[in-house]
Amino acid sequence: MASREQDKAPYKTPDKAIDGLLRRSLAQTPPSQDCPAPDILAAYYDRSLDSQEATRYDLHFSTCAHCRVQLAAMVRAGEPEAAKKESSGWGWLTQRWWFVPALATAALALVVSVPLIRRIYQPVPTQQVAMNAPAPAAVPATGSESDAATSADTQLLDRARKEAAPHAAPAGIPEKNKDLRVAAPSRGEFSAKSASPRPLSKTQDAERAPAAADSLTAQSEPAPSAPASSAAARRAAPAQSAARSSGVRSSATGSSGAGATGGFTAQNQVRQQNQRQNQQSNQPQNQQQNEITAQVQSQTVQVEAQAREEREEPQAGSAGSGAIGGAGAPAPRSDSKQVTEAAPLYSADGKLVLRGDKAAVRNAKKSSILRIYSSPDDDGWWRLPGDGYVEFSPDAGEDWHRQLLDRDAQLLTGAAPGGRVFWIVGREGVIYLTTNGTKWKKIIPPDNADFVAITARDARSASITASDRRLFTTEDGGRTWRITTP
């Protein structure tokens, strides 16, 4: 049972003098004669009495210690087990029989999921993306058609687009062929190569990508005379995408960039060679670059879509890498346009809204600024978050309780005249009324017009304004209305 020590201190400053006085005075109450029967006590406890009876018994209980003791015993006996466990701290957690198995399951899930998540969200190597860019002309070049952009690393993609501008994707590169993915060499091998790059021979290439070597080397003209920049090598992330979905597993799966990206060395060298060739040419490079850049951008989106598709349906040979050659590429899915990360979105109650939850995102945007309707005595606060919901706070906004009135209703505005009375009006004749904050009554409207404004004096008297400026007034809680046409 929750103890007083666990209560938040109701008083900011202690005042033992007045506290002691209050305690003594309140305990000295004469015995009452007309104490109610248990069924009234129970109805009072369940808040089933009407307001008149409740007020009467409030007065009685405030001066009758006998009845209060019974009510206190009832409330102590009536706390559900869950509430008692919650209020007693974390002890309830360990007293459940399911705690240990649940903990074990959670630990196992964590052990399994963490490596998987790391592999999914590792950045894409820029070289791979660059190599996947389609070529405006048949410039021979090697290219690994591995699905580069399985994980959307925006910075790497941008850099890849810039670096890939003069570079042409190899022509005739077949559509998605998982065998073409290059396996990463060992770390030592990569380090050596990145330090002092040298032309890759067919043999070396085959060593690194036994399943893909033929296709690659047949199209490549490996003559890298420029070193693969160490910066690029560092940027290149391990080929986790290749390792994940292809039959060629990288020996450096999950390892650092040094070892895992060795497979991109050949591609990088060829790319640089092509880059130099383009620079030396008198071709209208700008135009070429622009075209390539645009194509790279569109293809990047497609590649990401395909990669996402692969993650969800990891069957071998699934179509998708048409982005590489541009032919047969599946149309990007709608959500593949969400390439960049947006700022986190929070709903009106401060909860983070996941971007995948479109309904929640829509609602959060709608209710980013909510008007609060409060009664003059602050006994009730309400707000209308949309989609037919109403939110009520009995404690001046500290806690909000959401209720669905009508999913199809468009609730526009309300009025809180006092206590826990709240009127709501909306489109198409919607009128709701509560007198206790939580139980709602749908009022039969005088007309099916859109009601855009309301003023209320109490639970019986209110005036509503339609969109055509007609005014309807009730004095009996909505049973009858009289109209005032302007």
Binding site: M1, A2, S3, R4, E5, D7, K8, P10, Y11, K12, K16, A17, I18, D19, G20, L21, L22, R23, R24, S25, L26, A27, A37, P38, D39, I40, L41, A42, A43, Y45, D46, R47, S48, L49, T55, D58, L59, F61, S62, T63, A65, H66, R68, V69, Q70, L71, A72, A73, M74, V75, R76, A77, G78, E79, P394, D395, A396, E398, D399, N436
Partner: protein
């Protein structure tokens, strides 16, 4: 059974409709006539004392009343009262654990069994009156949940038993905590005005408390006398815990201000005398919850009275 004024508040058609709404299982074999009697009893209990002599309540009022009843629980109570074994089995399965749990919470482990068993027997209807079995279920009128009503009866019986002195622990034990709270005797001579100040403060405060709104007074009483938590007070008053805290703070502040104002203006005390009043009150009636919490809270607080 008719109302005391010879009028039927509930006709058979209404009883059938409400019985259908109660959705009592067929194996309870509850008839509309039996349910009509139960409904009539409930309505008489509600409207009997309020309405004018010989006049039944308004149809609208009685209709609203019947709509507010817990019909399913009322049907169960009615079927149990009629002696239906299927209904009784259902009651045992659903409510017996709750009954014993509530008895333990109210009376502690030692008295729970006896308290629950005595209630159990009366619910079953071991008493007979005028040749008819009388069940405690006849006193359930459906205005609350059946579980709440059972807890109310347990609480009432426990408090009544306690007041009649059936418990073995002495009432004097309840004062031990307060005696431990008495301040150490001062070396200075007692102020002859002390008693006068204390009486003055009590009278002033009593008048102010009498003028409080019932809700505010109830909140203070639950907190100071019944020693309920903020959450428990909120449950009884239909408020959130934070609202209870806020209103307690406000009420206490207002009471203090009113006491000071009354003593300064009406009793013509000086500031120094006012401070002395509060100091004497703090010494005389220290407010220290921790000691009472350590002493245990299973007994009703009213044992101190």
């Amino acid at each position: 059974m008719t109302s005391s004024r010879g009028h039927r508040i509930v006709n058979i058609e209404m009883a059938r409709k409400l019985l259908a709404k109660a959705a009592a299982p067929p194996d309870w074999q509850l008839t509309a006539e039996q349910f009509q009697i139960t409904l009539e009893r409930s309505a008489t209990h509600r409207f009997g004392s309020g309405s004018a002599a010989g006049e039944p309540p308004e149809a609208k009022a009685s209709s609203a009343y019947f709509e507010s009843l817990r019909l399913a629980d009322l049907a169960l109570a009615c079927a149990c009262s009629a002696g239906c074994s299927a209904a009784w089995d259902h009651f045992v399965a659903q409510y017996r654990p709750e009954l014993y749990r509530a008895a333990r919470a109210i009376a502690g482990e030692s008295g729970a069994r006896e308290l629950a068993d005595s209630l159990y027997a009366e619910l079953f209807g071991l008493r007979e009156k005028e040749g008819q079995r009388k069940s405690l279920f006849d006193y359930f009128h459906g205005r609350s949940k059946l579980g709440t009503w059972l807890r109310a009866i347990l609480a009432q019986r426990h408090v009544d038993d306690f007041r009649r002195g059936r418990k073995t622990d002495s009432l004097d034990d309840a004062d031990d905590g307060e005696q431990h709270n008495e301040p150490v005797a001062s070396n200075t001579a007692p102020d002859p005005e002390r008693e006068k100040y204390l009486v003055m403060m009590q009278a002033t405060l009593a008048a102010i408390l009498d003028a409080l709104a019932p809700g505010d007074r109830l909140r203070l009483a639950y907190y100071y006398v019944d020693e309920l938590t903020l959450a428990q007070i909120g449950k009884l008053l239909g408020e959130h815990e934070a609202t209870v805290s806020r209103k307690l703070e406000r009420t206490r502040r207002e009471v203090r201000q009113q006491v000071e104002a009354a003593l300064l203006k009406e009793r013509k005390l000086s500031e120094a005398q006012l401070r002395l009043c509060f100091e004497y009150a703090r010494e005389q009636w220290p407010f220290d919850l921790t000691l009472r919490l350590q002493a245990g809270q299973s007994r009703p607080v009213s044992a101190r009275d």
